[in-house]
Symmetry: C2
Subunit: 112 residues, 2 copies
């Protein structure tokens, strides 16, 4: 089973764009540094990423078992990120970029 985890959109101005979502829509900043930001909007999460670092994408949360099966089906190697999450990037048939992401049980980061 997969579930929508977050949506990532691109901006070259992380703080300015984050401020826009806070001011206009009451977004809550879960995390922000110079390179990216993570915002809460109701039950949903919006990531702001830089065009030279990440593609715009839709991230689907998965179990480790489902992540491993998807990686095997698509011949992709699972990467472990600095925060302990694990994942792969792939594209849907139309070329939209997807991230499949697994949060380990001891994950202490941005799953709020």
């Amino acid at each position: 089973m997969f579930a929508l985890d977050h949506v990532a959109i691109q901006t070259t101005d992380i703080p300015g764009t984050a401020e826009f979502y806070v001011r206009e829509f009451g977004a809550e900043i879960l995390y922000q540094d110079k390179t990216w930001a993570f915002l809460r909007l109701g039950q949903g999460k919006l990531a702001l990423v830089q065009p030279n670092q990440h593609p715009a994408h839709v991230a689907l949360r998965s179990t480790l078992e489902d992540l491993e099966a998807a990686a095997a089906r698509h011949s992709l190697i699972i990467k472990t990120h600095r925060d302990g999450t694990r994942g792969i990037y792939l594209s849907d048939p139309a070329g939209n970029v997807l991230e499949l992401i697994y949060y380990p049980p001891d994950y202490a980061g941005l799953t709020l």
Copy 2:
């Protein structure tokens, strides 16, 4: 208050792409016709739209009061859709397209 309602991504092949999300990720089809589809992935909703009909966008659900205030701030006219929802499209400072959408109390459609 605004909350993430759905994410819309583009494809020229609505049924083929919908089938991919069902097969690969267990998506549930909430609605599908030749021109667009609406999928459930956990708590999140993913719309598949055609490039010549809709931009890729992030849709934020809002109250009527907040929608009207946002429309006034941005000098936009609220449109009423065939299904009774009302909304506007605007862009964030980075050019990402946003839809602000209001579901009326008697809405009987795809809010599941």
